[in-house]
C-alpha cells in the first residue's frame, strides 16, 4: 500500500503548494507506516521532479504523453485512478485548487473512495479515518469520517508547512495508456494573462482609502503590492475622486473580494466597504484613528500615518523575499 500525492505542474514547474502537498503526504505516509508516491502528469524535467524528493517523495511516477497536454477531467481521472490502483494507494492527496476540484470528485466515484475537501490538518485519527475540514465558509470545521478503504483528501492551500527531508526519490516513467474515446475536451483558445493580477483572483490585496490624502501618495502602496505580489484596490471615495481606477473599488457597490490577506491603508472601515472585504482570511489595517471601525474586524493593526508606515512595510517585505 502507499500514499499517493498528485502534484500539478505549471508549464513544467512546481509551486510552493506542490511541496506543501508532498510534505503533508509524507507525514500521512509516516502515520500509516507506508511509503509516499508522487504522481506528475505532463512534461516535467527530472531535476524539477527530484525536488519533490526534498519533501519526502520516495517514488515519483511521471506520466507524459499526448493526451495529457490539456486538462481533460476524464483523462486525468483515469490516469490517477490507474496509478492509484497500481501503487495500491490507500490515501490519495490532491490540492484543493481548481484542477484538484475538477478531478478529485470524479476519482472518488471511480474508485468508490470517500472524499473530504478543504482539509487543513493532518488526519485527527486513523481508525476511524477522520479529517478536519472547513465548512460553513470558514464559520465552522467538521471532523469528517471517511468510511472506505481508499480515501481522498484535498488539501487547502497555505495550510501546511513545508517539511524538508533527505532526498531518496526515484523517478519512474509510467507507460499507462488512456482509452482515446475518453478524450473529449477541445481547447479552442487559450488566453494567458500577462502582467496585472486580477483583483478578484488575488490572494493578497493592498487597498488604499482617503487616509492616503492624495493620489500622489500611492507610490509606496503600489510598491508594497508589487513586493507582495498583490493586487491593488481602493475604497469608494478614492475611485469616485478619480484617484484610482473604478476597477479597484472594493465594497458593497464595488467588487466583493475574499483574499487571504487584505491590507487596508487609510481606510476607516465603513459598513459598505467592509461588506466587500469582510470574508478576507486576514485583514490588516493602517489608520491614524484608533477608533476606526476597521480595527474591529482586523487581526493586525497599526495606528499611525500611512505615509510613514508604508515605506517601512515595503522594506520589510523586500527583506523577506530575499
Amino acid at each position: 500500500m502507499s500514499v499517493l500525492v498528485y502534484t500539478q505542474n505549471w508549464d513544467g514547474r512546481f509551486k510552493k503548494s506542490s511541496f506543501e502537498l508532498v510534505s503533508y503526504g509524507s507525514k500521512v505516509a509516516e502515520m500509516l507506516n507506508t511509503s509516499l508516491v508522487c504522481l506528475s502528469i505532463g512534461a516535467v524535467g527530472d531535476e524539477e521532479l527530484r525536488k519533490l524528493g526534498n519533501y519526502g517523495a520516495e517514488k515519483i511516477v511521471r506520466v507524459d504523453n499526448e493526451y495529457c497536454k490539456i486538462l481533460d477531467n476524464q483523462v486525468y481521472t483515469d490516469v490517477i485512478a490507474q496509478v492509484a490502483l497500481k501503487e495500491d494507494a490507500r490515501v490519495i492527496i490532491i490540492s484543493n485548487n481548481s484542477e484538484g476540484k475538477a478531478v478529485a470528485p470524479r476519482l472518488s466515484v471511480r474508485l468508490k473512495a470517500g472524499m473530504a475537501s478543504g482539509v487543513s490538518k493532518l488526519p485527527l485519527s486513523l481508525n476511524p479515518f477522520t479529517v478536519y475540514k472547513r465548512t460553513y465558509s470558514g464559520n465552522a470545521f467538521a471532523h469528517m469520517v471517511i468510511n472506505t478503504e481508499i480515501k481522498i483528501i484535498t488539501l487547502s492551500q497555505n495550510s501546511f508547512d513545508l517539511v524538508e527531508t533527505p532526498n531518496r526519490a526515484a523517478i519512474e516513467n509510467s507507460n499507462i495508456t488512456v482509452d482515446s474515446s475518453l478524450i473529449k475536451t477541445v481547447v479552442k483558445d487559450s488566453q494567458k494573462q500577462t502582467g496585472k493580477l486580477l483583483l478578484t483572483d488575488a490572494e493578497i490585496v493592498v487597498s488604499g482609502g482617503r487616509g492616503m490624502k492624495s493620489p500622489d501618495n500611492w507610490g509606496p502602496l503600489v510598491e508594497l503590492a508589487g513586493a507582495l505580489g498583490a493586487a491593488t484596490a481602493c475604497s469608494r471615495p478614492v475611485s469616485d475622486e478619480g484617484w484610482r481606477s473604478h476597477e479597484e473599488h472594493t465594497g458593497q457597490t464595488g467588487k466583493v473580494i475574499a483574499p487571504n490577506l487584505y491590507i487596508a491603508i487609510g481606510i476607516s472601515g465603513a459598513t459598505q466597504h467592509l461588506a466587500g472585504v469582510s470574508s478576507s482570511k486576514y485583514i490588516v489595517a493602517v489608520n491614524t484613528d484608533k477608533d476606526a471601525p476597521i480595527f474591529e474586524v482586523a487581526q493586525y493593526g497599526i495606528v499611525g500615518d500611512a505615509l510613514k508606515v508604508l515605506p517601512k512595510l515595503v522594506e520589510a517585505v523586500k527583506e523577506l523575499k530575499k
Binding site: 469616485d240 465603513a270 461588506a275
Partner: protein
C-alpha cells in the same frame, strides 16, 4: 343681425372644434386606469383656494411669482368680460352684464387695470424668454417646438390684452366724446383715450369694434389651440389643483393586487396550493401611457413645462439625466402618439414602442431620490415621484430588472431582514456598552405587560457604526426622561422602505405584514423612531396594510417634552459655534415637519444659521429613493457634495442632521472636502444628549 349670425357661426365652429378635442382626450382618458377616487371635497376646495387662487406655490419664487400671479388673477377677472362678450355676440346686446351695477363697475374696472398689468407682465416674460438665458427653460426635453409654443402663447395673450385695452379705450373714449353714459369703469383706458389726439366718436367706435372682434376671435382661436399646446394648463390648472393628492408627499400608494398575493404566500397552507386562476392580467406598475392612473395623465396634460420641478431636482442639479419635467412631458407625448392608435385599433394594439425606454430611460428612473422637491415645487401640485416609482415597480416586478446593487439589497432584506448583510441576532450590539440595560419588549411580555412606547431602532441604528452612536444617545435621553419604552431587539426586521422606494412592492409588503404581525403580538400602540424613513412608512403607509399606530418622530417627541418644561436643554457646548440644520427629505417635504427640529435647535444653540436652501427648499442629501445602496447614476457631481458645500458656505462648524442616511452622506461630504478637523456632523439626539451631559 349679421353681426350675431357671424358671431354665432364663429362660436359654433369654435365649440365644434373644442368638442372634437374633448372627445379625443376623453378617449385617451378611457385608456388609462381607474383609481384615485375623488373624496374630501371640502378639503379640496380649500386647497384650490390656497394653491390655485392664492397662488401660494407660485410665490415660492416671489418676484417672478408675483408676475405670474398677476397674470392669473387678471385672467380670472377678465373672464367675466369674455363671458359678457359671448352673450353680447349672440344676443346682439351691448354690455349686457352692466345691470350688475356697482359690482359690474368693479369687474370692468379691475379688468381694465389688469389688461395693462398683464400686458406688461407678458412683455417681461417674452423679454426674459427671448433675451435672457433662463436655465430652467433649457434641457434636453425642451426642443425648439417648446420655445415656439411658449412664444406663440405669450404673443396671443399679449394680443388679447392689447385688444382688450383697445376695446376699452375705444369704448370709453367714444362714449365720453359723444357724451353717452359709460357702462362700467375703465380707469386706465379712459386716461389713455384722453391722450389720443384727433379722435372722433366714429374712429373710437371703429377701434372698439375692431378690438372687440380681435379679442373674441383670438379667444376662440386660443381656446382651441390651448389643448394642443403647453398652455393647456390655462384650462386644467385649477381642476388639477382641485384634484391634488391630499396625502403627505412621503406616502406612496399601496398596490392592493399585490397584497392579496402576499397574504397568500405568508399563509403556509396556501403557499404552495395551486394558484387561483386570477393571476391578474393587468400589468404591475407603469410601462406605457395606458398603464397610468387617469389622474397622472391629467397631471401630464396640465404641465406647462415651467421647469420649476427640474430646477430643484437634486439629480438634475448635479447633471444626471433625470428631469421631472421631462417625465411628465414624455407621458403626454407618448399618449399623443399611442392614444389615437389604440382608440382606432383597440387597447391591445402595440406599435413596438413604449413610454419606458423609448421615452424615459431606466437611467433617469434610477436617478430619483424620491426627495419630493419636484412635487413640492410644482405650482399646480403635479406628483412626479408617483409616476417614477410606478415605472420602477414595472421594472422590478414585471421584468425583475434593477441595478445590481439593489437586487442585492432585495436579497438581503428577504434573507436576513436588513439592506446590508448582517444577522438579526446582532441587532442589539449597539446597546452593549451602555451603563443601563435597554428594555426588550419580550421581557415586558414575559411579565405580562406592555411598555407605553416601542422605540423602533431600525436597521441603521442596529448595523451602521456611526448611527449606532445616535441611537445610544437617544436611549440615554429616554432613560433620563424615564420614558416607559422597550425595543424589539432581534425581532426587528426591515420596514421595507428601501424595497418600496426601489419599486419592489412585493418585498415591501412582505416585510410590512411581518412587522405588523410582530407589533400585533406585542400589542404595540405607540412608536417612537429616530429614522425619518421608518417614521414615514409607519405613519403613512402601514395603515394601508392594516397597521395603524400612533407614530411619533423623536424630534416631535422631544420637542413636546421641552415645551412642557420636562426636558431642559441649554446651549452649553454649542455656544459660539456656527450650527446649521439639514432638513431630511422624509421629515421635511414628505411630512412637513420643519418647526420642531428648529425649536429644539434654537434651545440648543440660542440661534443657528440656516442654509440657503432650507425647509421645504432644502436640498436632498442624495441618499433617498434607494440611492444610498447603489452607485450614483452618471452626472457631473455627487448630490451629497453639493449639499455639503452648501453647509460649508453657511459657515457651519456643526451640521445637525436627523436621519441615518443624511448622516452618512454629510459625514462623507465633510471628509471629501477635507474639513474633518473643523466641521462635524452630529445628530440632533447626540446634541441633546450632549447638552444634558449624558
Amino acid at each position: 343681425m349679421i353681426r350675431q349670425v357671424v358671431f354665432a357661426l364663429a362660436l359654433l365652429v369654435t365649440l365644434g372644434v373644442f368638442a372634437f378635442t374633448v372627445r379625443r382626450l376623453a378617449g385617451f382618458f378611457r385608456l388609462t386606469r381607474p383609481g384615485f377616487p375623488v373624496r374630501q371635497i371640502g378639503k379640496r376646495f380649500g386647497v384650490m383656494l390656497k394653491v390655485a387662487f392664492g397662488q401660494t406655490k407660485i410665490f415660492r419664487r416671489p418676484l417672478i411669482g408675483l408676475a405670474h400671479a398677476l397674470v392669473f388673477w387678471g385672467f380670472c377677472i377678465i373672464l367675466f368680460g369674455s363671458i359678457e362678450m359671448v352673450i353680447d355676440g349672440l344676443a346682439g346686446t351691448d354690455k349686457s352684464l352692466s345691470f350688475l351695477g356697482g359690482f359690474y363697475r368693479f369687474l370692468m374696472g379691475s379688468g381694465d387695470i389688469f389688461a395693462y398689468i398683464v400686458a406688461i407682465a407678458i412683455i417681461i416674460f417674452l423679454v426674459r424668454r427671448i433675451f435672457l438665458h433662463i436655465r430652467r427653460f433649457e434641457g434636453i426635453e425642451m426642443k425648439r417646438i417648446s420655445h415656439i409654443d411658449a412664444i406663440i402663447a405669450l404673443s396671443l395673450i399679449l394680443l388679447l390684452m392689447i385688444s382688450l385695452a383697445g376695446m376699452n379705450t375705444g369704448y370709453a373714449g367714444g362714449k365720453i366724446l359723444s357724451g353717452e353714459p359709460v357702462k362700467g369703469a375703465y380707469p386706465v383706458s379712459t386716461w389713455l383715450a384722453g391722450l389720443i389726439a384727433n379722435k372722433s366718436p366714429e374712429s373710437m367706435h371703429t377701434l372698439y369694434e375692431v378690438c372687440w372682434w380681435t379679442h373674441i376671435l383670438t379667444i376662440f382661436v386660443f381656446a382651441n389651440v390651448l389643448p394642443y399646446s403647453k398652455h393647456f394648463h390655462v384650462f386644467l390648472s385649477v381642476p388639477n389643483v382641485f384634484l391634488s393628492r391630499l396625502e403627505p408627499l412621503g406616502k406612496l400608494t399601496n398596490m392592493d393586487n399585490i397584497t392579496r398575493e402576499v397574504r397568500l404566500m405568508m399563509n403556509p397552507d396556501t403557499a404552495f396550493a395551486a394558484a387561483p386562476s386570477d393571476v391578474p392580467v393587468e400589468r404591475f406598475g407603469v410601462k406605457d401611457a395606458e398603464d397610468v392612473v387617469w389622474k397622472t395623465y391629467f397631471d401630464s396634460l396640465s404641465c406647462t413645462q415651467c421647469g420649476r420641478c427640474t430646477s430643484v431636482c437634486p439629480a438634475n442639479i448635479t447633471g444626471k439625466k433625470l428631469s421631472p419635467r421631462k417625465v411628465m412631458m414624455d407621458l403626454r407625448a407618448r399618449m399623443k402618439e399611442k392614444g389615437p392608435l389604440m382608440t382606432r385599433n383597440g387597447k391591445d394594439y402595440s406599435d413596438n414602442k413604449s413610454l419606458l425606454r423609448d421615452y424615459i430611460s431606466e437611467e433617469e428612473l434610477w436617478a430619483c431620490t424620491t426627495c419630493n422637491a419636484c412635487a413640492t415645487e410644482c405650482p399646480i401640485n403635479i406628483n412626479h415621484p408617483s409616476l417614477i416609482v410606478d415605472m420602477r415597480r414595472y421594472l422590478v416586478m414585471e421584468e425583475a430588472s434593477a441595478p445590481g446593487e439593489l437586487k442585492t439589497v432585495f436579497s438581503n432584506i428577504e434573507n436576513n431582514g436588513a439592506p446590508w448583510q448582517y444577522s438579526s441576532e446582532d441587532r442589539m450590539l449597539w446597546a452593549r456598552d451602555l451603563n443601563f440595560s435597554v428594555p426588550l419588549i419580550s421581557d415586558y411580555a414575559a411579565r405580562g405587560t406592555t411598555p407605553e412606547y416601542l422605540f423602533w431602532v431600525g436597521c441603521a441604528g442596529a448595523f451602521d457604526d456611526r448611527y449606532k452612536k445616535v441611537v445610544r444617545a437617544f436611549v440615554k435621553v429616554l432613560n433620563h426622561l424615564k420614558i416607559n419604552y422597550a425595543v424589539l431587539g432581534s425581532e426587528e426586521t426591515c420596514t421595507g422602505d428601501p424595497a418600496r422606494r426601489a419599486g419592489n412592492e412585493m418585498l415591501f409588503q412582505m416585510q410590512a405584514l411581518q412587522v405588523i404581525e410582530v407589533f400585533k403580538s406585542y400589542g404595540v400602540k405607540k412608536i417612537i423612531t429616530t429614522c425619518p424613513h421608518c417614521f414615514n412608512i409607519f405613519k403613512n403607509e402601514y395603515p394601508d396594510l392594516g397597521g395603524s399606530y400612533e407614530v411619533v418622530n423623536y424630534l416631535q417627541f422631544l420637542n413636546r417634552y421641552a415645551e412642557e418644561g420636562r426636558l431642559s436643554i441649554n446651549a452649553g457646548s454649542l455656544k459660539g459655534k456656527t450650527v446649521t440644520y439639514h432638513d431630511p427629505c422624509y421629515l421635511g417635504r414628505a411630512n412637513e415637519i420643519y418647526d420642531e427640529p428648529r425649536a429644539l435647535l434654537n434651545r440648543l444653540t440660542g440661534g443657528f444659521t440656516e442654509m440657503e436652501r432650507h425647509g421645504s427648499f432644502a436640498l436632498c442629501c442624495g441618499a433617498g429613493g434607494a440611492q444610498m445602496f447603489k452607485e450614483a447614476e452618471k452626472g457631473e457631481k455627487e448630490v451629497f457634495i453639493e449639499r455639503t458645500e452648501e453647509a460649508l458656505r453657511a459657515g457651519a462648524e456643526v451640521i445637525a442632521s436627523a436621519c441615518p442616511f443624511c448622516m452618512t452622506m454629510l459625514t462623507d461630504g465633510i471628509k471629501y472636502k477635507n474639513r474633518e478637523d473643523n466641521v462635524r456632523n452630529l445628530d440632533m439626539a447626540e446634541l441633546i444628549a450632549q447638552s444634558l451631559e449624558l
